[in-house]
Every structure is written in structure tokens, then in C-alpha cells.
Amino acid sequence: MTDLLLEWTIKIAVILGALLTAVAYSVLLERRIMGFIQLRRGPNRVGPFGLLQPAADGLKLIFKEDIIPSQASKLLYVIAPTLLLIPSLMIFIVIPFGSEIVLFGRKIALQVTHFDVGLLYVLALGSVSVYGIALAGWASNNKYSLMGGLRASAQMISYELALGLSVVGVLIQSGSLDLVEIVRSQGGWNGMHWNVFVSQPLGFLVFFIAALAEANRTPFDLPEADSELVAGYHTEYSSMKFVMFQMGEYCNLIAAAGVSTTLFWGGWMGPGVETYPALSLAYFTAKVFVFVFVFIWIRFTLPRFRYDQLMRFGWRVLLPLAILNIIITATVKLLVS
């Protein structure tokens, strides 16, 4: 029991460290890619290629004045950003980063834990993070914040539905909610039996779009549509509380990339993982990186939706497509058996 606890604690510490670094550098990556797409340089002054920019930004934001507006509901105003950040960090304990490797003469599975309801745990955390946004908007007691918070939470719950239904096809394939089992069920064809190739291209499409909207990314970034709402639900937030919203957003982005990889793109599976288990970690990281890149690329390519278009798209297009995907998958499975 004690060494189990120790193993968990070390894994959690490693994951938190890696995650915070990844968050800091995906912000930099985004700004660099934005510069590249818009034919300018982006941040390149601090350190070689601007690599120390995240540290500089972090330091700057720590020393910024922490303003709590006089009209705000103080307690909720302080708690709201943590309600967004904590669930998005907690998702990572069930994501499998690789198969088992041997370290210090001990077999170590490359995920913190796995249990029977793994995928439901991910969905549950997604649904709880709505509170952070809704309460941030309400507690700021600012018209733009409240409007942004309400819009964001209505958008998140609408697309959460499509998200929840689009994974059902994967469950019919794997017969388990445990993310480790889901990855293992995609191991055939020399590690290329990925769900997106086998039967779930439609499911993946729905999941991808819904995950984009869940993470409030363009073209679904209406909650912070700066031309209408100043900055949406975090208009009134400054200093580290603003950083927490940004961190939560980028954690959600990386989590969306990790979960899409796990469910549809074979997780850490790939050719040769059976013989070289360490390769699995490389495959997983590469796939997640590609997803993060695509998310950023989309942001600077597509224009923003209008709110009525967004709602209509979620309920009239994505939701029926997700249900159609379930019916097709179940019918094919029944006929093949």
C-alpha cells in the first residue's frame, strides 16, 4: 500500500510538472504559429527563438495587481477560476501515455490509474467545469461577464451532449469504459487497428468538433468574442486569476487532444510497440502534438460562428449525426456477429 501511494504521488508530480510546461509552451507555440500564419515574427526576443517567453510572461503576471472589483461576490469570484482549473487538471490521471515500461527493476504502467468508469470520469469532469465559467460570469457582476458566462455555459452543455453521444460508438467497439482497455482493443493490424480507420470516422468527426467547442476554441470562441463581449466571462479577472483561466483553457485543449488520441487514434498504439515499449510514449506524444497543432491552425483559419448558427449547428447537425453514428455502429456490429 505504501509503495503504491508513493508510486501514485510520483506519477502525479511528474504529470503536473509536464503538464504545466506543456501549457506554457503551447501558449508560445500558438503565438509563434499565429505570427507565421499572419506573416510576422511573433515573440522572439526573450531567449533563443523566444523560448523563455513563457517564463517572462509568468513573472510579469505574478507581479500584476490583483483586482477584486467592489461589486463582485467576493468568495465566488475567487473560487470560480479554481473550479475551472482543478477539473481540467484532474482529467490527466486516467489518460494512458504509453504501455508498461521497466524502470528500476519495477514494471510501471504509463498512466496514473485506470478504473472501470474511466471515460465517464472524463465526461463528468467536463460537465463539472461548466460551474467555473457560469460562476465567474455571475460573480463578476458585470453585464458582459454575465452574458459571456451564460453563453459559454449554454454552449458547453449543448456540445457536451454531442460529445457524450459520439463516444458511444467507441464503447460498442471496445465493450469497456476503461481507457486502458479501449487502447488495447485497438492493437490489431500491427498496432494500426485504430477506431478512426475501422468504424468510427463519423464518430471522430463529431467528437473533434464537439471537443473544439467544449474547449471554447475558435470557431466556437463566442464566450470571449471580444468584438461583442470585451473578454466574456473573464473580463474582470486580472493577475494570476486570469492566468488560471488561460491555464484551464489550454489544459482542456491538451486533454481534448489526449482523449481524441486515446479513443480514436489508437492512443499509444503503433507499429513496433510490442517489442519496444518505450516507443509507445513517443507515439502518444507525437499524436497529441499533431492534435494541438491542428487546434491552433484552425484558430487562425476559420472565422467565428454567430451565436444562433452555433446553437443550430450543435443541436441540428452534430446531435443527429452522433445518434446516426450509434445506430450504424450498433447495426453493423449486430449483423457481423
Binding site: 478504473f115 472501470d116 470520469y121 463528468a124 460537465s127 457560469a134 451564460l150
Partner: protein
């Protein structure tokens, strides 16, 4: 270890439940209830009802309570009046009533025979896993499941009619 965890979650759930009564603003009451629900979900995990624990968060904390929070935010109702204008007697009745209820419950609980929880069974068919809920629900409990769909349909229509009256 197990007892310590039980006591932590029990205390959290009771404290959050009491906070529902102590708060004037319904938004704070609703958030306290979310706290109770999460603590209860942890207790469900300890009872090895893993699927129910997950559903508790997804449905109760993630959907039902979101609806409550939305309604409170939309109405922006004034805070509760500081005193009870009518039925003042009710408040004084509530305390002895609560004592009576507790005493009765604990009298019954004292009669409960001490039974042991079945030994930890890690097979996939163990009580409380998603698979066992799935197979049992869609075979033995088929009728309640199908009736549920009609109930949800009725709720959709009913809530729409009630909430939209006066709008169109």
C-alpha cells in the same frame, strides 16, 4: 484507512447539507448541495457502486444542478426575507420534529443485523461495474427503462409549455 475516509466524506456531506439551510442566497445553497452530491459520490465508490458514483456526478452535479444554477442566475431573485412572515410556528415545530425523526431512524438502525460486505470481487461481473449495470438493466429491468423514455418525453413537453407561456 477506510473508516477515516468514510468519516471525512460523511462530515463533508453533512456540513455541506447544513450549509444549504444556513445560506440566504439560493445560489450558495445550490453550490452546497453540489458539495454534498460529490461527497456522496465518493461514498458510492467506497460501496463499490462505481457506475452509480460516476452517474451521480454526470447527471446530478453536471446536469440537474446546472439547471438549478441557471434558473437562479436567470431569475436573479432577491435574497430570502430574513424572517418568516407566516407560519412562524412551523420553525419551532421543525426542531422537535427533526429530533423525533432522528431518534426513530437510529432506533431502527440499532436493530440492523451486522452484515459483512461481500469480499472484494474483482471480476468484470462484480456488482456495481458498468457491464453488470448494463446487462442487468437491459434484461431484468427492461420495462422501467422503456417507461423512462416516455417519462422524459412528457417532461420535455411539460417543461416547454410551462416555461414558454407568455413568451409567444
Amino acid at each position: 484507512m477506510e473508516k477515516a475516509l468514510f468519516i471525512i466524506f460523511a462530515v463533508v456531506s453533512v456540513a455541506a447539507a447544513l450549509n444549504i439551510l444556513l445560506q440566504r442566497n439560493p445560489l450558495y445553497s445550490a453550490l452546497s448541495l453540489v458539495g454534498t452530491l460529490i461527497a456522496l459520490s465518493a461514498l458510492y465508490v467506497m460501496l463499490r457502486a462505481q457506475f452509480i458514483a460516476a452517474i451521480q456526478i454526470v447527471v446530478y452535479a453536471g446536469a440537474i444542478m446546472v439547471l438549478f444554477v441557471f434558473v437562479i442566475m436567470l431569475l436573479n431573485a432577491p435574497k430570502e426575507a430574513p424572517y418568516i412572515e407566516k407560519h412562524k410556528a412551523l420553525r419551532f415545530l421543525a426542531i422537535p420534529f427533526a429530533g423525533l425523526l432522528i431518534a426513530e431512524a437510529f432506533y431502527v438502525i440499532r436493530l440492523v443485523k451486522p452484515i459483512q460486505m461481500p469480499a472484494s470481487d474483482d471480476s468484470a461481473q462484480a456488482v456495481g461495474t458498468t457491464l453488470s449495470v448494463g446487462t442487468k438493466l437491459f434484461t431484468d429491468y427492461l420495462l422501467p427503462f422503456e417507461v423512462t423514455s416516455v417519462l422524459i418525453l412528457m417532461a420535455i413537453v411539460g417543461a416547454m409549455v410551462l416555461a414558454r407561456r407568455g413568451e409567444d
